[in-house]
């Protein structure tokens, strides 16, 4: 990768679940302002990579550096404070809380409390449906709305790096279209995004850079456009 200082570096990281190794000595970096997508099949280690970045699982070896600071092994709740926010997999929202309560919790670690209302308004502007349903229990939202809430809530934490885990999972095609549009819009405001997707075609279409994972290792990587044109990738992941 080129000129800019990377905002995130993943250096030679190995992650285990018990005795099973989920990630094998993986290294990559993310440049500021880009969308980097991690694609690959189920069990390739995509979500584990995000869990390691967020501090939900501690790597056995290697280091994770964010904005020049080593964050390896820090507890998850301290990593969020450094403006590294994740919208977790399976629309990980608090189904027992209202939409607005979810949004509020997203701002728990936000460094600038003064921007709270402005961010809340921004989130609702991005997803007007959420404003309509602000006092509803989030468990009553549709799948698409829950995903929107997960993204809006992550933005409440004023991230500099946004991690999105399978935002298209289980959603209808038109909703997926809309979610990817919004991801592009958020990126245009200068936000760096790491996007984990099984839906490789759509992810590579919005991303600047792609990393293809297979059983916990990087199979190939490169500018998203190049990957989209590669025969090998098209065959293996894009269903051609």
């Amino acid at each position: 990768m080129s000129k800019n200082e990377p905002i995130l570096q993943f250096n030679d990281v190995s992650v285990y679940y018990g005795i099973i190794q989920a990630i094998h000595n993986m290294s990559f970096s993310v440049e500021k302002g880009q969308i980097v997508t991690l694609v690959g099949a189920n069990g390739a280690g995509k979500s584990t990579t995000l869990r390691a970045i967020s501090g939900l699982i501690k790597p056995k070896s290697g280091s994770i550096v964010f904005k020049g600071e080593n964050i390896t092994g820090l507890p998850a709740h301290e990593i969020v404070r450094k403006r590294l926010c994740q919208a977790p997999e399976g629309r990980g929202i608090f189904l027992n809380l209202t939409v607005e309560e979810n949004m509020d919790l997203g701002a728990w670690a936000a460094p600038d409390k003064g921007a709270y209302q402005a961010n809340m308004d921004k989130g609702y502007q991005l997803f007007p449906r959420l404003r309509e349903r602000r006092n509803q229990l989030s468990g009553t939202l549709s799948g698409g709305e829950q995903q929107m809430l997960a993204i809006a809530r992550a933005l409440m934490g004023q991230p500099e790096l946004l991690l999105l885990d399978e935002p298209s999972l289980g959603l209808a095609p038109q909703i997926i279209e809309k979610i990817f549009e919004i991801i592009t819009d958020i990126n245009k405001t200068g936000m760096t995004i790491v996007l984990v997707e099984q839906n490789a075609l759509q992810a590579l279409q919005v991303a600047h850079y792609g990393i293809v994972l297979e059983t916990g290792k990087i199979k190939t990587h490169g500018p998203a456009g190049d990957l989209l044109r590669s025969d090998e990738i098209r065959k293996a992941y894009l269903g051609d």
Partner: protein, 321 residues
């Protein structure tokens, strides 16, 4: 009719104490999926804290309030008795919160990642530890709780067959229990801490991704639940009025049954289940036979587990403890 009213009053007062204990069970279960069998012992420690506070500082506190309210330390007044009782309850709540904090920190937190059955066995162990440490420390013979309300006449309504007697202490217990429950409700549903507690109880990882320090929230939950049990301990001590190191086990188990009846993990359910149990016990003692009063809670437990295992207000969850 008067008889019935009398039983209802007794039942509400008893239900209030069950509710205070049951809330701790249900809160801890909600956040850790742990049945904290040591909870009854926290209740016992609350009663002992109340006993010793009353014994060594009760008269001084009472005298101070009497002087403030009536101008003389010797003149008894209801207000002073109530204020003294409140101070004693607050002391016990603080001590029990500290006990809850230590139990969580020392016994349960090191086992957070281990299988749930280990936690459950540890809870039984902590319970036995406190029962025996209590006997060693306080002696196993029952101790009399100083009567703060001794100068107060019971209120009577009607006469002869229609006589209803209301002990001011019963009213005090009921009102205090309700007040504490309303405060708890406010904390859980209308404060940032409560929101974080609900988030942690939904999913620990997800909560920590928000930046919520889950360990602190779990500790706070233990402290709140334990302080309520402490308040219940003092009030039961005042009502009965004797205190002994094994007094926590039966009320603890009954309150647990009440929490399961209401739907364990559900705060409103715990209160509902407790009042149902309190009233049922009072009515059974009154109209049936007091002998089987203590069996009632367990009968209800078995019935609810057969008919609706998730409890009256609980949601179905396929989880094993």
């Amino acid at each position: 009719m008067a008889e019935f009213a009398q039983y209802i009053i007794n039942g509400l007062s008893q239900g209030g104490t069950y509710a205070l204990i049951a809330l701790g069970y249900t809160m801890v279960f909600g956040i850790l999926q742990l049945i904290n069998f040591a909870h009854g012992e926290v209740f016992m420690l609350g009663a002992f804290t109340g006993l010793y506070t009353s014994k060594y500082a009760g008269l001084a506190i009472l005298g101070t309030f009497n002087r403030l309210l009536t101008g003389s330390a010797e003149t008894a007044s209801t207000g002073a008795a109530i204020l003294t009782a409140i101070v004693i309850i607050l002391v016990a709540m603080c001590v029990c919160a500290a006990v809850g904090f230590c139990v969580e920190r020392l016994a349960y937190r090191p086992l957070r990642a281990s299988p749930r059955i280990n936690l459950l066995i540890t809870a039984v162990g902590v319970s036995l530890f406190f029962q025996n440490a209590g006997q060693l420390l306080f002696g196993s013979d029952p101790k009399a709780f100083p009567d703060l309300f001794e100068n107060l006449e019971p209120w009577t309504f009607g006469a002869d067959e229609n006589l209803i007697v209301i002990n001011p202490l019963q009213v005090f217990v009921f009102i205090t229990a309700i007040t504490l429950m309303l405060i708890l409700r406010h904390v859980i549903f209308h404060t940032r801490l409560g929101r974080a507690m609900r988030a942690v109880s939904f999913n620990h990882d997800l909560a920590s991704l928000m930046g919520i320090p889950t360990n602190q929230i779990i500790a706070a939950t233990f402290m709140m639940g334990s302080s309520l049990a402490g308040a219940a301990g003092v009030m039961v001590g005042m009502t009965y009025p004797k205190v002994e190191p094994l007094m926590g086990s039966l009320p603890g188990l009954k309150a647990f049954c009440a929490a399961v009846l209401g739907g364990i993990g559900n705060v409103t359910g715990a209160v509902l289940g407790s009042f149902i149990l309190g009233l049922a016990e009072a009515l059974l003692s009154g109209y049936g036979t007091p002998t089987y009063k203590d069996a009632l809670a367990f009968t209800i437990l078995i019935l609810i587990l057969l008919v609706k295992p998730s409890g009256l207000l609980g949601v179905n969850r396929t989880e094993k403890v």
